[in-house]
C-alpha cells in the first residue's frame, strides 16, 4: 500500500467517523457542567472516612488501590522487559561496571559544575522526598516523588561523571529496591487479610486530618510505590545510558577489554 492510499483510507475513515464523533460529543454533558456521581461521593465521604486531604492519593492507595498495584507491576514489567531486551545483546557480564568510551577524551568538568551538581543533587533528592512524604496532604505522592528521586541520581552523572555514577548506582540494588517496593505494596494488600479484613483494607490508625502522618496503611503503600518507582526509573536510565556506551565500544573492538 502506498502512503497515498493509506492517507486516503485514513481520510475515508475520518469522514465516516465524523458524524459519530459529533453525536457523541453533543451527547456528553457540556464541558465543566457537572462531574460524575462517583467522584462527588468520594469527595464527600473520604476526608472523614480516611482522614486524608488529597482525594487523588486516597483513590490511588485506598479506594482503588488495586489499580495502583496493577500499575506498579506494569512498570515492573516494562523495566524488566527493558533490561532483558537491552542486556540480551550486551550479555549479563557487562552490567556490573561502566563501559568505557575509548577514543573520546573525557572533558574535564569545571569545578563550578561539580559544585553546582553537589548542591543540586541533594536538593533534588530532598524535593523528591518532600513530594513522597506529603502524599496524603498535598499534591504528589510515591510515583511523582519516585520519578524526581530517580532524576536526582542523574545529577550525580553530571557532577561525578559516568564512572562515578555507576559506582554510586548498582544494578543489583536497584533490582532490590524495585522488587522490594513492589513486594511491600503487595504485602500491604495481603497483610490485612491475615486479620480477617479485606485485601488492602485500611486497618492501621488513620492519624489526624491534614497531618503528615494521616492515612494509615496508605503511608506504607506510598513508601512501597516510591521505592519501586525510584529504583525502577533509575534502572531505566541506567540501562539506556549504558546503551550509548556500548555503541562506542563496539566501534573499536580492539579495546574491548575495557
Amino acid at each position: 500500500m502506498t502512503p497515498r492510499i493509506r492517507v486516503a483510507l485514513l481520510a475515508l475513515a475520518g469522514v465516516v467517523l465524523l458524524p459519530g464523533a459529533a453525536a457523541v460529543i453533543t451527547g456528553l454533558p457540556p464541558f465543566g457542567a457537572t462531574i460524575a456521581q462517583y467522584g462527588e461521593r468520594i469527595n464527600a465521604i473520604t476526608p472523614e472516612a480516611r482522614h486524608v486531604a488529597n482525594m487523588v492519593s486516597a483513590i490511588n492507595f485506598d479506594l482503588r488501590g488495586l489499580d495502583t498495584l496493577g500499575e506498579e507491576f506494569m512498570l515492573l514489567a516494562a523495566i524488566t522487559g527493558t533490561v532483558v531486551l537491552l542486556r540480551g545483546r550486551r550479555g549479563e557480564g557487562n552490567t556490573e561496571r561502566a563501559l568505557r568510551r575509548p577514543g573520546r577524551a573525557v572533558i574535564p568538568r569545571s569545578e563550578a559544575v561539580v559544585l553546582v551538581c553537589r548542591i543540586a543533587g541533594p536538593l533534588t533528592a530532598l524535593f523528591g522526598l518532600y513530594v513522597v512524604v506529603h502524599a496524603t496532604v498535598t499534591p504528589g505522592g510515591g510515583f511523582q516523588g519516585g520519578v524526581i528521586l530517580a532524576s536526582g541520581t542523574l545529577i550525580i552523572y553530571l557532577g561525578e561523571g559516568y564512572a562515578g555514577w555507576r559506582d554510586a548506582v548498582r544494578s543489583h540494588w536497584l533490582d532490590g529496591l524495585e522488587g522490594g517496593g513492589a513486594l511491600l505494596f503487595t504485602l500491604c494488600g495481603l497483610a490485612p487479610m491475615l486479620t480477617g479484613a479485606a485485601f488492602m483494607q485500611n486497618i492501621m490508625p488513620l492519624g489526624t486530618f491534614r497531618d503528615l502522618m494521616s492515612g494509615g496503611l496508605m503511608l506504607v503503600e506510598n513508601l512501597g510505590v516510591a521505592l519501586a518507582v525510584a529504583g525502577g526509573f533509575t534502572q531505566l536510565f541506567l540501562e539506556f545510558m549504558e546503551e550509548t556506551r556500548e555503541a562506542d565500544e563496539l566501534d573499536e573492538p580492539g579495546e574491548e577489554s575495557a
Binding site: 464541558f31 462517583y38 462527588e40 476526608p47 531486551l85 537491552l86 491534614r210
Partner: protein
Amino acid sequence: MSVVSNILPYAVAVWLFGAGLYGIATSRNLIHLVGCLGVCQSATYVLLLGLGYRWGSIAPIFYDHPPGTPAVDPVMQALVLTDIVVGATLTALLLVLTIQVYKRSGSLDPEKLRPMRARQGSDRAEGSDRGHDGKRTVL
C-alpha cells in the same frame, strides 16, 4: 463562545488522536512514530480530565479549603495518573525496541522493516516466507 467552550476539550481530544494516527500512518522514522503514539495518548489525558472538570471547583485536595467545598472529579485524575505511567512504560519499551532494530538493520524507516517477509540474507533459510515463492511450493 459558550457553545465552543462546551465542546472544545472533546474536539481537541478527537483532533489529537486523529493527528497522532495520521503521524503513525505516514511516519518514516520509528523514533518519530513513538512520538506520534504519545500524541494519541495525550488525547486520552485531555478527554478524561475534560470530562472530570467542573467550573468554579477547586482541586480535590482539602488542605486549604475545608471538606465539602465543590471540587473536580478526583477519579478521573487518578485514572489519568495511571495512564501517564502506561505512557512512560510504552515509550521506554518502544524506544528500546527501536534501538535494537537499528542495530540489527541499520535503518529506522518502518517501511523497510517487514517482519517475516523479505529475504534476510544469512538471517534466514533460502527461499522467503513471502507468498509468491511459498505459494509455488506449498500450495
